[in-house]
């Protein structure tokens, strides 16, 4: 029984099944990748886990307890944090205050303002933004905005971190530093679930990969296995170039 489990998770929008009968079992400390073509249901699944959406069927469990129909702020306090597909920051709030807010509002037990400030400073160091702490979020370039989103999520002391296409739009250098950052976060004990299109990153970081297609789980396994999986190749990867690593 892993830290985050899903059993027959289903979500219907009207007559359309965005996610259908999806099972998953994430162990603590893993980095699991979630891939699939656009519209496969990846972000919907994230939304179901984080509480933005409620499930139509099935169950999601965190540390053995059912979280399927809790509100986002409750799920955050339990220890699941996320970033968003299109960066969702508080434009007119400073970098420091983003992380400060996360620390003071999102932790399981009350955090005092003084401690929250210390923690915010530490996290800003981790994500590489201490120099920008007074800057308003709307004035940051994309790469830094993504770091800030991660930092804000980390401030809530999550056991599980959901990263939604965090690598999209980054340069090669940035990709490298993000990869390092994610590994650092994991070595701190956080479990990571990663939705990505950037194959290079996924194959490099993930312990395991789950593939979704039209809302259904198509395949699951080690990166090398997925790279060789015929069904996945047909649907998504196009060639088996990655199998040769």
């Amino acid at each position: 029984m892993g830290i985050l489990e899903g059993e027959k998770v289903t979500k219907f929008f009207g007559g359309l099944a965005a996610v259908f009968d999806v099972d998953f079992d994430i162990d603590e400390g893993e980095i699991v990748g979630l891939i699939g073509p656009n519209g496969a249901g990846k972000t919907t699944l994230f939304n179901l886990i984080s509480g933005s959406l409620s499930t139509t069927g099935g169950e999601i469990r965190y540390q053995g307890k059912r979280i399927s129909n809790l509100k986002p702020h409750q799920i955050c306090r339990l220890g699941i944090a996320r970033t968003f597909q299109s960066v969702n920051l508080f434009g007119n709030i400073s970098v420091f205050d983003h992380v400060f807010l996360g620390s003071i509002c999102g932790t399981a037990s009350r955090t005092k303002a003084v401690d929250a400030r210390h923690k915010a400073a530490t996290i800003l160091e981790l994500v590489g933004l201490p120099a920008r702490k007074s800057e308003l979020a709307k004035n940051l370039p994309l790469g830094e905005q993504k770091r800030l989103e991660i930092g804000r999520a980390l401030a809530t002391e999550p056991r599980v971190l959901l990263l939604d296409e965090v690598m999209a739009g980054l340069t090669a250098t940035e990709l490298n530093s993000f990869t390092t950052l994610i590994r650092q976060i994991r070595s701190g004990g956080t479990t990571i679930l990663l939705v990505e299109h950037v194959m290079q990153a996924i194959m490099a970081i993930c312990d395991r990969i789950i593939v979704l297609h039209h809302g259904v789980k198509l395949a699951e396994g080690l990166p090398q296995e997925i790279a060789k999986n015929q069904k996945v190749i047909e649907v998504y990867l196009g060639t088996d170039a990655y199998a040769e690593r």
Partner: protein, 308 residues
């Protein structure tokens, strides 16, 4: 939320202003406190409107409703209870109705929230009109009289209280929380903020002060009826004043309310015939040419980064 730099200067000048206003009756003719009372009323309404609607970006058009609740509390309880208690009851009444209203309608998004609150005032007005006619068998009510000087000092105290509360909210984590709700509600809920609870509570808090002002002002106007107490003008005026002053900084609503009330008092006394015409035109001009309010103007002059 950096208040460090100018904080001592601002506090000093603010205290000076309060002192000046507090001692006003001693060296100004008697009608001055009366006129200033109106200004104080608008300042309270504008600041309490901006307390919630500024950071969260909701456009509440129900200020008159909560003000009116305070007025009616005063009218009903005025004979039986001492004045301070009546004022407190008016505030609490508005607070609880604010909680209920907020619970019902804060889930609505921008446009729908605005017309719901707009309609709410009409609903309450018509309902009270019907109730007074059918059940209480009266049209309006007389309010226990309180002398103008007491009213003046009460209003001054309320202004100070409202401004102080707003100030401390903005400085605290609650100010950040409200801002985050206005900027990106979904993200805010994902970092542990119980958006619903904070929205409702702070909305009700702003209603508290509106009710407080209503309870006091009822004694000044002495006679109230649903048309007076739930006057739709009071729904839009604080919004206009807040926008005129600018919602980015805290003193914006205060300055906006002060200047506009003064201007309208002058207009009313000089051109009673054309008053509405001029007032409406002023409205249009301000909306058209001052989108960021006065505060925004000073921002542009000093070439600061924008306030919003």
């Amino acid at each position: 939320m950096d208040y460090g730099k100018g904080l001592w200067t601002k506090s000093f000048f603010s205290s000076l202003l309060v002192l000046f206003l507090a001692t006003l009756p001693f060296y100004m003719p008697p009608y001055t406190p009366l006129a200033v009372t109106s200004i104080l009323m608008y300042v309270v309404l504008t600041v309490s409107w901006a307390m919630f609607c500024g950071p969260t970006r909701y456009m509440s058009l129900a200020t008159a409703t909560f003000f009116g609740v305070g007025m009616y509390t005063s009218a009903v309880l005025g004979e039986r209870l001492p004045f301070p208690v009546v004022v407190l009851c008016g505030s609490l009444g508005s607070f609880f109705i604010g909680l209920l209203t907020g619970y019902i309608c804060l889930r609505l998004r921008g446009f729908y929230f605005a017309i719901f609150t707009f309609g709410l005032n009409e609903l309450v007005r018509n309902f009270v009109l019907w109730w007074e006619g059918r059940v209480a068998h009266t049209v309006g009510r007389w309010v226990v009289l309180v002398d103008s000087l007491t009213i003046y000092y009460y209003m001054l105290a309320i202004v100070v209280l409202t401004v102080l509360v707003t100030f401390f909210i903005n400085r605290s984590k609650y100010g950040l929380i409200l801002l985050s709700i206005g900027e990106a509600e979904e993200a805010a809920s994902h970092i542990g903020i119980n958006v619903t609870r904070y929205r409702i509570v702070f909305f009700a808090l702003s209603c508290f002060f509106m009710g407080m002002a209503g309870a006091v002002m009822a004694t000044k106007w002495a006679y109230i009826d649903p048309r007076i107490a739930f006057n739709p003008v009071l729904n839009f005026t604080p919004v206009l004043m807040a926008l005129f002053g600018g919602v980015g900084k805290m003193y914006g609503p205060i300055v906006g309310a002060g200047i506009l009330t003064l201007a309208s008092e002058i207009l009313l006394s000089r051109f009673p015939y054309y008053y509405m015409l001029l007032y409406g035109s002023l409205f249009i001009v301000i909306i058209s040419f001052l989108p960021d309010g006065l505060v925004g103007l000073t921002g542009r002059w000093r070439r600061n980064r924008g306030t919003r």
